[in-house]
Symmetry: D2
Subunit: 259 residues, 4 copies
């Protein structure tokens, strides 16, 4: 398998993870290590990167030399806030320009606001950011985001934190077939088989947080997810058997022994 390449950066792991929702910083670190993720995302507006000297600093837990940071704009409901948040992250992280843009529609669904997402993407790309973008499973919007210059398209499988998996594999497939940049499912995955399924559809990677952090045993699930992504990617590359509505014997041909 070839590495995942996003905006010129190469990754051997296709599982990206969030840092939120864990019991404590220690569980956060262990789960992320176990997941094998090389890219970790965190909400700039809710993470201490040193602004608050008295509180735990994420940079003390996750070393920038080991992980690629993917600051995100969670909690932003319009383009202005999202752009400002990305700029703040770039400043706090010494010019780091890889970001995950998410502009949400409302607090009940956390569904993306597409109009504001497109606007923010345009500004951020123009300002030199490498923009990985959280979006709906709308294939036309996905293409528009690619045309704007986003470096990865990240459609939802289902609502953030819902654990409902990929509710519409058909539209997701349309996005994957037509994209020229990596497509990663972001949001909605709840268990290992769903991560494998995402990869089998042809996704280039998946991003998750709740599925690991809210499992009964986060470390066990982190490991299961690590393997699920590798497994689903392998199945995709292997090329699955065709399906049939009628049976076919596992051991066809004339019987060797006729009983």
């Amino acid at each position: 398998d070839s590495p995942l390449v996003v905006a010129g950066r190469e990754f051997s792991s296709r599982l990206l993870v969030g840092t939120g929702k864990y019991k404590d910083m220690d569980e956060t670190r262990s789960a992320i290590e176990t997941s094998g993720a090389e890219v970790v995302t965190f909400a700039v507006r809710r993470t201490n990167l040193g602004q608050n000297a008295d509180e735990p600093n994420l940079l003390d837990v996750l070393s920038p030399s080991r992980y690629t940071f993917l600051p995100n704009t969670a909690g932003c409901y319009n383009a202005r806030d999202a752009v400002r948040t990305c700029k703040l992250a770039r400043e706090l992280l010494d010019g780091h320009n890889l970001v995950k843009l998410e502009v949400l529609g409302d607090q009940d669904t956390l569904y993306p606001n597409i109009v504001e997402t497109l606007k923010a993407a345009e500004e951020l790309v123009a300002d030199g950011f490498d923009v990985m973008v959280y979006t709906s499973d709308d294939p036309i919007v996905a293409r528009q985001l690619e045309e704007i210059g986003c470096c990865a398209i990240m459609p939802l499988g289902s609502l953030i934190g819902s654990g409902l998996g990929i509710l519409n594999p058909h539209t997701l497939s349309l996005i994957i077939e037509r994209a020229n940049v990596p497509v990663l499912v972001d949001a909605g995955l709840g268990t290992a088989s769903e991560a494998a399924f995402a990869m089998e559809l042809g996704c280039d990677g998946v991003l998750m947080n709740s599925a690991i952090a809210h499992a009964r045993q986060p470390l066990l699930m982190a490991d299961a997810m690590r393997q699920a992504v590798i497994s689903g990617r392998g199945a995709f590359l292997a090329g699955r058997m065709p399906t049939r509505l009628t049976a076919r014997a596992s051991s066809p041909g004339a019987g060797l022994i006729t009983g």
Copy 2:
């Protein structure tokens, strides 16, 4: 994780594989090795275990010291033939008494014939065999087979060779919840995510052949399946997050930075 225990035999791999449908004996061996399987099944009536001196002998390819053999009765359509086939296997394999019983209903569907399966199971158990039994997803029949003394219940996910996955997770769950012997999905799995899903439902293992042998690249798929089973088992043990119809922010709580 604890090992899979079937009739007192312990296995660390929960993926069981068939030997049919491969291009040649070499591909058979490589795929099985890659799958990590410890138990391999083959149709007694269609496999050369030495009866035909001039043809390739499965025992030359798969060493009995490395693998646990699981001779099966594929191609049998009544109890009499199935019992006779198991006895033939025991003879050819020097008293080996672990078998996979399958008595099929017809050649179009390869769906099990439950009445003949129950009859054969009874005879085989009485004759000292350790019977792993291919069956439908009927929870009452599953219990009857357990009561007869079968050492593992192996319901279909869907028709043999169909690759349609697990068509009725609900009945499969009923079987799993109520069984006191291992339950393994046998037949129908087509790709890695489906194997992981079977394990997440709480299956003790899965058995497959076509999904690996008929993949475009069998070795790659064998590896993907190996990982999928481990991953799905891990997710089952980890305990997946609950699903929700509404969203929940990955990074809840009051914003640290208010932009």
Copy 3:
């Protein structure tokens, strides 16, 4: 459309209904009338057909001149009880020989016990009964029941009273394709679209009770179900459009007006 013919009896309605679970006898009668059903089924062991002079008698509510009675063996867990119950019904109903056989596996699932069902079917057919038989979605068992001489095969969609709909359309289709007697889905339907779907699969009819009786407004649901069955049957006869994974314009061809 041609009528539904079961054991020589013709029916214009393809919706068969139960009599249980209603608030009172009046609701029972109104719901059944509204459903348009011509066949009504009731549990012989739980229905007063005149044995208890002091209690409401079903025959006072549903006139035998208007409805075809289908006494059933609900509550029987072995062939002996089921056969005895059918004979009792024949006696109470002056030689009426159309029955619905159900032999259940246990009280938790109410899943059919196939072995006892086959045994009872054989005895009842030999004794001159016209046997409509509740069964699993096992296509081999369905054929065996037909070979025994049952006049209608009635596979479950899902567990009795579950309202989960048709969980395995694939096996149901296998039964329908291969049957030479009517196939009716019995058990599991929960709402109108599921009844329509059953008919679209090619079922000859459906039988339900809870879906109507346990709806918030049973009479409204009875009417919805009446229409759903007619609608689904119509769609089956009409022959649905083929599905496509890509789009096709509703108004193809060169534009008339080029704007």
Copy 4:
């Protein structure tokens, strides 16, 4: 049931139909009559409303006194064309201001272009049109279209002409729950049970064309669809039974006869 009210117009039928894809004008008229539809939609750019004196005129076939016309902008790929097309329709139809706006993303998917749809909706509403709007199943966009002043939101079930049904009932439900104007599923429905299902989800109506016109027997399907919509609406109003993962006997309580 109360009537469907769209922009002050009342309709007793909740099935809206298209006029395209039929064999000839005669079949168009018969199918529409049989469907019971009161609202008929047609692509302004592809329909002769009198501009071409030598060709069949839709107004000769479908009387404006009997049907409410819903001219649509099929074939438009940007807001400018869509707005212009609506104005042309208003002119050709003597000031008729009810339109169905659809601005498509590309010819392969016919998926809506949300950005252009929002822009066109704004212009049309400002210009006095009553705009029923074809859109994706994005709940945020649905609300934005409602806020702009559209009189009905018409999300796709799946791609136009695909017949794949409702691929994501979850997002559709989110739209329905939050909308204050009628929500109608437009595009993707393929058979009667899917139309019933749309109504059971709480849709106020459905619009279809291919499902009827491309059925093997369009008139039969038109009738099936008419009933499916009524049936699904009835089931929605009736309130379906709750689902259960375990069984519940149809005839509970102590047995009357103890055999």
